[in-house]
Symmetry: C3
Subunit: 139 residues, 3 copies
């Protein structure tokens, strides 16, 4: 069994944003040499997500509107978490909706994706460097 | 290490619906010959889900009501994604709540499930053929 | 390839609660002897979750408030699922928001976590013994 590990770093300049990280994940897969196996890609921070959806700007604006409706950033005093001096209570909740991780099949050395599947880093408390982990196991 | 891959096809006749796909996934596991390992089952489309919950019709009606409250289909003009001519903006959001994939333990050649766990395909933009991927690795 | 399986049991004395289960999962990993691989940790019941977030009491109170807003327990007659005599329709929905499972990378014999990542058991229909599965594969 082969295993491979790499960290990807992102510094989203705004509080929230969505970054298509599929090319970086594909690079990891190439470097790993794994042809058949499973690839895990997860946010290493608890106010960010990794998820699979569509690379379409309108949809990303819909994510923004929708997540702000489900778990608004303001007023920050809404959240007991923020009593500790934080202002990112909403980010911890948004991340639950969008998910921490994706597991992707590796087949014949490629991400085994449907036609529109792309991997995104979802940032909900940005303006600093944060990490995503890629772990691949297989043969 | 063994690996196995199969696509399952579904054509849900309505816009939304829930299909218990546990028997098909169990068939894949039997064919794979894997006794100990991990099984990934994911929607290959970004307006559908694979998830584990209860095979109970009332609950599935509750999913329908609840997801329509969280991310209503109408008015379709609510969603920036639909400016591209689509009408499935809501389906991309519903899929985030319900999830893309499940990873299931394989133990002694069986899905290692609790008493009520069943795998469902959740369709949010149906009336056409769509795919689910089953990937199994182990020994 | 090595594989390891263990069940963890929890009996949360209230209807809802959050338990940091990271130490028990780390014990499993030590016992498994796996140094490089993947660890799956999932609720075996469909009214409970396993998820990764912050070990901060204020945040857990925010989860409680937020999930009750998204899928309130009362009135229990809201949910078609409860027509069967159950009162846990809300718990099945809360579990979808919080997720069934986490997959964690195993690197050099440890959970490959970012600085604040901790694994929680989320109970939404407690006051009875329920199980979490830990399955580890690797070398």
């Amino acid at each position: 069994m082969k295993s491979f590990r790499e960290e990807l770093w992102f510094n989203v300049p705004s509080r929230r944003g969505y970054v298509n990280i599929t090319p970086q994940v594909e690079d990891c897969l190439r470097k790993s040499g794994v042809r058949e196996g499973l690839l895990l890609c997860n946010a290493m921070h608890i106010t960010a997500s990794v998820f699979v959806n569509d690379d379409e700007g309108g949809l990303h604006r819909d994510f923004e509107t929708w997540l702000e409706k489900l778990a608004p950033h303001e007023p920050v005093s809404t959240y007991a978490h923020n009593l500790s001096g934080e202002d990112n209570g909403d980010a911890h909740l948004k991340r639950q909706v969008m998910g921490r991780e994706v597991v992707v099949a590796v087949t014949a050395g490629r991400l085994d994706f449907g036609p529109w599947e792309q991997i995104f880093y979802g940032e909900f408390d940005g303006r600093r460097a944060k990490r995503v982990l890629v772990k691949i196991i297989g043969e």
